[in-house]
Amino acid sequence: MITERHLNLLILAGLILVPLWAWAADEPFTITLATRAVIFALAAAGLNIALGIGGLVSLGHAAFFGIGGYAMGILAHHAQSYTALSTWPFLIEGTKSMPVIWLVAIVTSALAALVIGLLSLRTAGVYFIMITLAFGQMFYFFTISWAAYGGEDGLSIYIRNDFPGLNTLDPIQFYGLCLAILCAVLFATARLMRAPFGLALNAARQTPARVETVGLDPTRLKLAAFVISGAITGLAGALFADLNRFVSPTMFSWQMSGELIVFIIIGGTGRLFGPVVGAATFVMLEHWLGGLSEYWLIYLGGMLLAIVLFGRGGLIGLLTRREGGA
């Protein structure tokens, strides 16, 4: 058994070394798989703030993933077709600039999370799950009928957006960019978990009434967490759209929301690197078992069942000993 901190460092080393090996061995597909895992990890890391720390079981986080994806898709679509996004009251044009797209993805996802959170946090428990699911499905059906941006068929992007100083078409460089963002988000999450806000959020998850008696508003804490969480998942959506150069309503589907929850449960709910382990495990199983059988999700289901029944701390919990105990 090793400590969680040491395991996290090992995982980080793996995230750096495996794609570097694939690059040296000229295995670009492995790098693409790793990029997919890192982007899923980023999306789940966002959800982990709401679910893992705040205890908010959101079954609608695909809404933010999709909003981020469509932010990228719409801006890039207008950039590649040289058409304006809007001409009145202001001229708004498309862009191929990743930083601008990320900013738009973060802001729109955060705003959506604010509105959804304000309404959803009036409920709790199963009602919260259902209302977030309903919001996610609203976005899903809206984009299906949004003919201007491909409707059900989605939107293909023929360009890879630009990042200053990088060739984003080079798989290893795009992977490095995604990994850097994931590391920045994990670092910020680690700081947040130890900051008074994160501690209060954790306490609010355990016992909202006790938190109130020390002068903290649990609803406001959870709303802030939900907004931060939505913004990060939205950023992951923009990167996912750039990876695939394609966006479609499936990014909003409830299955996507469910997968994000599965990543967290497999890795370890509330664990800093839980989403990374969960997403990497999912992508590896999807690749290896998916090649053997189209029913590979049965094996994933069995694994999930075993973890829920026998390893509440997820794979990280099974491999590590808890720090800060007696």
Binding site: R194, N202, Q206, A209, V211, E212, V214, G215, G324
Partner: protein, 228 residues
């Protein structure tokens, strides 16, 4: 002017009325003992003050009406609560419990360590793994870290070993000597309360039946209403 003022306060748990008219007044820097037998409304009065239970009547703190405030806003006015049964944040460490809701002011980690040296030795330990006495010290420390003007202690020494009880009472005595903080203490330990509190209010069947200086609390009242 009173820091805390309750007049004709009534409260109910659903259909069951628990308070029928509680009156008390506590001045800034004073300590008040709230006494009575079990089930007479002491903890319910505390819940009414902390807005954990809807209550009617006049409830004012620092000149502000508490009646319409949610619990967290009442706490932010400067009401610190050490609830019955400790109720620390079990999954957080001692340090995390203390800083989670800390607000700037006189009380910081160093001062809490000074008051309870035991906590300083257990800063990295999860609250759930502490002994009952240590959890009680943590609950007091956590309330102090919010830098309240009034500290309410609801049965703070209940169920603790005599040695730990003595430590808690010594800490409360130290708080009194330092001054500046008002205390409202719910407890049955008449002797210890007498050493700390200036005023006392006695409750019976959800009503305040006696109020006055602690020194004037006679044997007739304690025998009839407190059972000691």
């Amino acid at each position: 002017m009173s820091l805390l003022e309750l007049s004709g306060v009534t409260a109910a748990y659903g259909q069951t009325q628990a308070l029928f008219g509680v009156d008390l007044a506590l001045a800034e820097g004073e300590a008040l003992a709230l006494m009575g037998r079990n089930g007479m409304g002491k903890s319910t009065t505390v819940k009414a003050i902390c807005r954990m239970l809807p209550a009617a009547g006049r409830l004012r703190f620092a000149g502000q009406d508490l009646a319409r405030l949610p619990s967290h806003k009442a706490a932010r006015l400067g009401i610190g609560l050490v609830p019955e049964g400790r109720r620390c944040f079990a999954d957080l460490t001692v340090r995390e419990n203390l800083i989670a809701a800390a607000r700037r002011g006189h009380w910081d980690l160093a001062r809490v360590h000074g008051l309870f040296p035991r906590l300083a030795e257990r800063m990295g330990q999860r609250a759930a793994t502490l002994s009952g006495g240590e959890q009680q010290m943590l609950a007091i420390g956590r309330a102090l870290m919010t830098n309240p003007r009034l500290l309410i202690l609801d049965e703070a020494t209940e169920g603790l070993a005599p040695l730990i009880r003595a430590e808690i009472w010594a800490a409360l005595g130290q708080l009194r000597r330092e001054g500046g903080l008002s205390l409202l203490i719910v407890d049955k330990s008449l002797k210890e309360l007498a050493g700390i509190c200036d005023q006392a209010v006695v409750l019976s069947r959800g009503e305040s039946v006696w109020a006055g200086a602690m020194a004037e609390l006679g044997a007739d009242v304690t025998e009839q209403y407190i059972g000691v």
